[in-house]
Symmetry: none
Subunit: 213 residues, 4 copies
DNA sequence: CATGAATGAGGATTCATTCAT
DNA sequence: CATGAATGAATCCTCATTCAT
């Protein structure tokens, strides 16, 4: 018959330990790569015994999955929320351009909060196994689909020129990924990000043409 | 005393064996991923003994390196050849647009020839070790630099609008990567590629603006 | 300062906890076998903490030993009591036959009371370690010795035919073990046991010969 | 392309190694018991590397299974062969007694050849897991069934007295097991066995009655 | 006294690599 | 030169046991 107090303390301790392990895992995964990481690396960094790892996770894959799943859910939730409201579509070229920027900016804070995890997402996740590879690809495709939906709508309304919306959507996703990777690898500072979004958005909407007056 | 003929035959056989191993390695790397691949998988697929592998390569990394290096050299050679001729720069917006397409088209056949290797290049190579990760990043940066060089030139000549050439170059590389990946994973057929290059080039140069007649 | 009453309650509780652990251990030992059983299985079944186990027993072997020893002592005590009274030996073939049945029937209630433990005695105990293996064998030998003593006596008195008493004693023990095992594994119902004892005793004393009227 | 000769030599070597492992396993299983035996014990005794064990067996259970299965098959084959020929049943009390001895004697050489394995069969096999426990029980039951079949037949022909054939069959199996165990544990020498079979058979058929001249 | 989180020694298992044939 | 059996270091993983609360 453990006291309520005792139970709560144990609970807290367990959560702390698990978080410790998760953070250590992220650190080592980043530094050595998922495949080069041993359980012993993780527990050594966390200052815990080997057994403690296995009390909390069944395997290396499981920690990795837990780390990523949490971030992905946040991303999906945050991004889908409020988006694709069919009754609230932009009503001009400029509104589209604006909406586009806003969408990009929505992702920024999530990535900023999870920088290391996103690095793992891009680099290691597709090499864990087929299941993970598929899941990562699906996520990219979701973003691409949303982009395409807007493009199709804009084309129909003649707000933008006629184009192969699917291809353009892929191009947009590609740009996004490239810039996120650069950012994560320290090529851009956090404060520049907004500027970069605007520049990139300009490229998408205006191209490289010298504006005709 | 082996005759000349015998020597030559042995030589040929050895090369055949090595190619057999390389092709098997590619096949298994693709199917299972570099890290999930064992030497025993490779030699089983090649119908050779374990020892034969170690007669030809020092380790798994070495096969992978050899596979990739060959493709990368080809890519670098093919692409740099004739490029960046300072005396032969485009002389108008349209010439730039054209030059851009031609540059893209130069890469196409190399990728077409090495589809499987390029998949490994994108997915697995950055996870082998730090050295490989760096090398892959360097290659992207090279492409980005070339693009930036042209952009800077075009801006100076006022053939294109003033823009952050570095960022735009990264965007272009990002689009390229995205489309190559899609292609490699079977989303585009080989015959569509040219069309895709043109569409993407249009996006870069013209954006999404409805052309003002 | 704990009151007498409190002390007694604590004492009772402790005994209850220990019995709980013992019963859980028996249950799990039976179900999974001694070697496949973990301490964690036992405490989970008992709804107690891991530590509580080690408060009551030094190890898994110790619980097992405690469980068995209690039963064995009971068996030895019950059986030796009143037996082998040199002044009270049977005085005819029929008295021997009768005495034999009575001896068997003495063991029955002890086994009935400890069915699960006896299963462990037969199956698991000889595989714990050499010491246990020896102990189990000794017990069988004790029974065998007693049987042999009676047989020798009966032979000397010419109540039974001349035979190798040692071998016959072993045969009798073997039959006994076999029927006990069958009973424990549910092949005989409790109510049949007396009948089985009689049948088996008949076999020992009369064999399979058709009685010559 | 390995030569035929090479292939054969390799094959032989592999078989030798596997037999070495099997024999070591038997030795250690006997000495320490199945559950106390580690793979490292087995390979140390066999003077082989740890890996070599795993090239030949998936687990400790698998060696044990292989060891036992071979012996069991031999036993079943040898015993069922020629037995239970419905057209060749004994035709008198004495023929039954004789047939019974012959049946026992059939098992002797198989056990003599596999003494150590039979020890494992009796002691360790029922504690490996439920599957093994069942299999061992099934084998006993097979022997018991055969015995019962003969008994029923003999009863119908009035060659033996009316009795509960099922119980008597179990008694016979029990005696057999007991004597085999004694033999295996060195209580009987190999040369005594025949005598023991005869004595035991006499007990079954004649009981302990003083023969009426 | 009871608890269960944490531990780490011990054993299982894999697989790159060697080497005798 | 080719082979594949053998190897054992490296790593995974379990679970009896401890101990702070």
């Amino acid at each position: 018959m453990p006291s309520e107090k005792r139970k709560k303390l144990d609970e807290e301790k367990k959560i702390k330990t698990k978080n410790n392990l998760i953070n250590s895992a992220i650190e080592i995964f980043i530094k050595k790569g998922y495949h080069q990481t041993n359980i012993s690396d993780i527990v050594a960094f966390a200052n815990l015994g080997q057994g403690t790892f296995y009390r909390n996770f069944r395997s290396k894959r499981e920690v990795f999955e837990e780390i990523l799943k949490k971030m992905i859910q946040e991303l999906i939730f945050e991004f889908s929320d409020g988006n694709l409201n069919i009754n609230n579509m932009p009503k001009s070229f400029d509104e589209y351009k604006d909406k586009s920027i806003k969408s990009f900016l929505k992702i920024i804070p999530i990535i900023k909060k999870n920088k290391k995890i996103v690095i793992l997402f891009f680099r290691d996740a597709p090499t864990i196994d087929k299941e993970f590879e598929q899941e990562i690809n699906d996520i990219f495709e979701q973003f691409s689909s949303i982009a395409q939906y807007y493009l199709d709508h804009a084309i129909k309304q003649k707000f933008i020129r006629n184009c192969n919306s699917s291809l353009v959507a892929e191009s947009i996703v590609g740009m996004g990924i490239q810039h996120i990777k650069n950012w994560l690898h320290g090529k851009y500072s956090d404060s520049e990000i907004e500027k970069i979004v605007i520049e990139t958005n300009n490229l998408i909407f205006l191209g490289l043409l010298t504006p005709s007056v």
